[in-house]
Structures are given as C-alpha cells and as structure tokens.
C-alpha cells in the first residue's frame, strides 16, 4: 500500500503522467513487492511562482 506524492514545478502532459505512473508502479512491485493494485500515486503540478530554490521563486528569471 504505497502512497506516492510527486511534486513538480510546472506542468506535465497527460501522457507523461501516465508513463511515470506506470513505470513507478512497476518499480515498486518489482523491487519492493508492493502489489500494483494498492499503489496510489498523486501528481501536484506547482506553479513556478510557488516554488523557490536558493531563495528565489522559479519565475524570477522571466520577470
């Protein structure tokens, strides 16, 4: 029963999210023996304005 939260800055296409979910679920089943049916994965797509690295918001460059 893994629960995985993936947070990325910006957005992903539906195809990217589907591929990541498929691969990660396979990894968890193969490596950690977690049944796929019990694996939840959520994606949080965070706006650049809401993510900071090194003390600066990610959208700073474009201002």
């Amino acid at each position: 029963m893994p629960y995985v939260n993936i947070r990325i800055a910006g957005t992903l296409s539906r195809e990217q999210k589907a591929q990541i979910a498929a691969e990660l679920t396979d990894t968890l089943e193969r490596v950690a023996l977690k049944p796929a049916a019990y694996t939840y994965i959520t994606f949080d797509e965070v706006a650049d304005e809401n993510w900071a690295i090194a003390g600066k918001l990610l959208d700073e460059e474009s201002l």
Copy 2:
C-alpha cells in the same frame, strides 16, 4: 493541535467538506482529547488525471 490533510480524487461539495470537518473534529476531540480549536483540516481535491491506482490514471476509463 492535530493537522489533517484529506486528499480525494475529484471534488466535494461545500456541504460535504463542512460535514466531514465537523465529524472528524468531533472524533479527534472525543477519542484523542484534542481541543477542537486547535484542529486544522485541509482538503486537496485532486484531478482524476493527477491520481493513479494500479499504474493507471483515474481518468483512463473515459478516454
């Protein structure tokens, strides 16, 4: 001072969220002796495209 994060796929009506918050706050006060005034509850309504179970995004069926 509990902090509770409730993540659901899809959306809830305002009435559903109010009812869940009231019942859960009561549960935590009655069972865990946590004063209601200190209980924070947040709801994250996650799009079906951003939630996967068993390696598939929840919106897959409808494509």
Copy 3:
C-alpha cells in the same frame, strides 16, 4: 480513494488510532460516498520538540 494524513503532537494509543480510523472511514463513506476499501489513513506522531505553535516548540514549557 481518499488518502488522509493525520499529524498530531505526541502519541496516541493503538486503541485511539483504531477508533479514529474506523470513525473517519465511516464519515468518508457516508458523507462523500468513498468506498471504505479504498480509504488509506496514516498517522504521524510528532515529538513535541518537532512541533511549534506561535514560534515556540511545544516542549518549551517543561524545560
């Protein structure tokens, strides 16, 4: 498929956690129509030294 994370300062007994899980799962099924079998609840018991309110760690009084 709700995922709920309950964070409390201090600890709860096993009986308290079992009761909270049972009541909250019932609330989510009854109010939000979420099947109990899909509801995950996790508890994080956070040490008083790791929780601050109003800028003070919760263990401060006892020092």
Copy 4:
C-alpha cells in the same frame, strides 16, 4: 537539502512569496548550515472553503 512546504489559507502576492522564500532560506542557511542552493520551498495557497479550524470551514462566516 531542506524541503519546506508552506500551506496558507487564501493567497499571497508574488512579492510576499519572494520575501518569505528569501528570509526562510537565509534562516536555514544561517541557523542550520543548509546551503541555500539545496533549499526547496513550495507554497500551497488553499481556498478558504478547503480549510477548517475548530470544525468549521474558514469561509463560513461570509455565507
């Protein structure tokens, strides 16, 4: 490599987020010796309807 998630009810201006990110990154570098380049901060701006205190959603007063 700290990862910090700041959740607030309502919204913040871009300037407020930039200032908070700058100050918190400085605090973590000065107090905890964490290099600024490794510090990630994310902001979650939660609608009042999705945040409850004391068993009531925060938008209740205005209804």
Copy 5:
C-alpha cells in the same frame, strides 16, 4: 526540481530504497526531462499500527 515522497507501510532494505531511487530518478529524467541532480526523493517507512485501510489498522490481523 521534482520532490517525491514515498510512503510505505513497514520497512524497506537499504538496497530496495537505493534501487527505487535510481529507477524513479531515471524515469523522471527520461519521461519528464527533469535533471537527475534536481530530483529529491524521501522515503517514509510507516509502522503498520499507523496505517489504516478500510477502517482497520494494518497490524490488526496479528493481534
């Protein structure tokens, strides 16, 4: 700059965690074009007593 939090019930060996981290970082780089150097992954190993499914703590069977 993805941040990923993987929560599992029970524990994983160091080797399992290293393998999962390697595969997931590769997935995110290949599929989502996220540079590996910016990918943070954390594991939370949650005691069975602190994880409930269907309203029951996971350690209930063994009591």
Copy 6:
C-alpha cells in the same frame, strides 16, 4: 493559519529548531500578516538512508 512542514536530511539540535521556528513565525507575521498564534510548524528529521538526490541515497558516500 499557516501550516509549515520542514523536512531536512539528518538532525537538528533543539536550539536550531527553536530558532528556526521563531524566525519563520516572525517572517510569516511580518510579511504575510499571519498571526503567530495560528502558525504551526513541524520538523521532519529524515535519515540519510531515506533521502535521495540525483538517484543516490545520501548515505552512499560513507558506505
């Protein structure tokens, strides 16, 4: 009513946590006008074995 979760690899002393909590609460009050009494901050001290960057666990160097 901010809720802040600070996750760091390794540990912090009680004094470091107290100082970070005091400074961050002040920042949020001064910059975002959030009353200190409503600000919750939690610290998660994550073992190096449970944190990966660039696909490698942080304890790898010392093995």
